[in-house]
Symmetry: D2
Subunit: 248 residues, 4 copies
């Protein structure tokens, strides 16, 4: 049996990739493509069971209110959520508690897994550093993902009462040892030709463990969105972050 | 407060590295080194709370019987365990149920984590392959760790009802696509200078995730043994495999 | 002073990327785009100094005859050349010996360098293996590039009188040790999401050297073509292979 | 026919590894082991054709004078050479011009090749960065090898008139973009368990090339020293740097 899916923001760059992904999946059926100025009623008319929303902060809340009221589960990649918005979503779900809503900042499943594994591994290693690699048009360094990864490692080390990492450096060139994010060193490489890549490196006695994530193209979010679509009905209520669906 | 530790097989290659590791750890105190022909009584006399056993299959069961009877927790890397031996250990523990015994085939914590992460990641990727690298004196190919890793991936894919991996290969040189372990391709590289390394590679739309494990020396088991020593008292009963202690 | 460039096959996938590359380069000026049924006279009329030919085997020889007769240098990626064709090109050049013609099967400069470095490194290492990674739609395994790389390594080892590589493998799963190309093991990984990647690995006492080549997209030939355009005037006569332009 | 080899500093850590390396090589014969207070006459008496010198700055010049006068070729890893010393060695060789002397700061052949390849590759890529990885007991960051690698890349880019590398970074955490060595970014990772490793990364349109060097142990200099021993007779005069022997 297939899941009937509607896509909101269906004509945007991300939304159209989601449309193609749904169409290519044997277990999913695309029943509605909604974009600006389209009525949401088509979702109900066509029996959508799950919607995917990659729209804009100014319409996503109306979309969610409509879907939750109609018992349609929602997978949301639209940005702009804060605690107030989360509370509003929870309030709507209270009236329709079987509805599942997944809101996630990052659907690149390999990046989400890499971050989760980093937190799991962190307590068992003396050393941990992050090296990220991006195309040279990127405006910020390090990447938000790398900073978040380092923060996750730092928090896991704190909880495990680990001491500071060993580092005997006495003389160094400025910047060579990277940026310090909560005690975790983060290095950013900018390289023509590359897309987005991250090495999360852990070391202890006679061994290291490296979690390497590579994005080769712009549609790396698709598999994560489809994973969300397949599982959202089994997760009633509001879930924040795709990692909660990955059985970690 | 420190944990009082006894080491059995203290003069062997592995045991002596464990001795050094215990001595170097602030939270552990070495209270007994036992080797061939030494009496186990020193463990009781010196108040050992946890023992580490890297001995031989023909003495390890006597060691365990003694320790369990005396309420001394045990971390065991000695080989030769089968279901019959596990049942015997469980029977002894029945009489002393607060005692914890950890028996593990592999204490290299990075390898244990790599295998666990591979199982967690497997359901979310279309493709998965393993490439292992070892020194050229190794007698078997692929390594036991690589085979076990592939089996874990295959089992996780089955449970997630994943289809076979995509592979359009029509013409190939014999062996180029690796060995088939339960449908997962495994490649073995033999390289002078290398020690023991493994890449577990997962791919899906526009992205890949690589879990890389490197062993640089012969004492990579030490951190895992110490992790076992620190946690065994919190895990009464028999535990098989270090992964059960890692909070995964 | 800029170089005036004409592109033959200008509307093909490859040719149009070359057109864009020439237009984006400050030191090159695009003076002619020629495609099917267009006259070559525009090259002379517009003063083309160098042409790039990504056409088809059935028109490339006519193109070259025209260009060489008119003293226009040529950078050629069109396939289908054999010794007879090379001899014909040399004969034409004899009448116009200042003209340079570069014919190359591969313009991906990182792949060309990787292969050249592999030959240079090979004599100094006991072990060498190749692991290539491609998307799963590839029909052959291993890739032609990997086979050629292995052949280059094998030839360099023969010239250096190196013995066979050490390999103590006694028991192995079929295929795990890869394909044997002239005594060099080659492994092929097929992975959704990946594009085209190659690890050329060398090992000797306590060390290894890995030459890694990554192609992330379909236009990796552009920088090599532009390198050819810039240098062809300095290489009169026929040159086969971009490596001859790289000062190696 | 074997080459007769004497080792000076034969009881030091490095020298004793060289002794073992010579003894293990079929084409080399160890004829003399010289250490502190031993007479050099044994070299002549035993017919040494090549000596290896890993001694100290205060005895190496006497050793070289003796060897050159006796027509014994020399492979030297001892430190402390400056222009004055090089000139003195050249003067001695003038009287015995068939004698070859190789003085090299680095005999780790994979590192020497990596640096040479980096210089060769540099002119063909828009971007280049270096990431080095060492154990956490290292006192300086980045490593001398990484700095020298970056300088070589910078010099090769200057000679090719390359513009500055593209880098759109507008906001960054301090240190994240690494140290600037002549315009080439260098990043230093410190990681328990690691030994000494270096990634030299080049990128251009849709591709990257990574030269990775791994040292796994402390005797990585042995193959380079033996390469020197085998070739020094074919290189009369003073040669500075092992790269000159590698046919690059």
């Amino acid at each position: 049996m297939t899941i009937k899916v509607g896509v909101l923001g269906a004509k945007g760059r991300v939304g159209s990739a989601v449309v193609a992904g749904v169409q290519a999946a044997d277990d999913l059926e695309l029943v509605a493509e909604v974009d600006q100025n389209d009525s949401l009623d088509v979702l109900v008319e066509n029996g959508a069971q799950v919607i995917v929303d990659f729209t804009t902060p100014n319409v996503v809340m109306d979309n969610l209110e409509f879907c939750i009221k109609n018992g349609i589960h929602a997978v949301v990649g639209t940005t702009g959520f804060d605690d107030e918005r989360y509370d509003q979503v929870r309030a709507w779900i209270n009236d329709n508690p079987q509805t599942g809503v997944l809101i996630a900042p990052n659907f690149a499943i390999s990046a989400v897994l890499a971050m989760a594994f980093a937190k799991q591994a962190a307590p068992f290693f003396e050393s941990a550093e992050v090296v990220e690699y991006h195309h040279p048009n990127k405006l910020d360094a390090p990447s938000g993902t790398a900073v978040k990864t380092a923060q996750g490692i730092a928090e896991a080390r704190r909880q495990a009462n680990l001491p500071a990492m060993p580092d005997a450096t006495e003389t160094s060139l400025d910047g060579s040892r990277g940026a310090d994010v909560d005690g975790v060193k983060v290095h950013a490489v900018r390289m023509t030709g590359m897309v987005a890549h991250e090495d999360i490196i852990f070391g202890t006695r006679d061994q290291s463990l490296t979690i390497r994530q590579d994005s080769y193209g712009r549609e790396s979010f698709v598999p994560g969105v489809l994973t969300g679509v397949r599982q959202v009905a089994d997760h009633p209520g509001l879930t924040i972050g795709l990692d909660n669906y990955l059985g970690l």
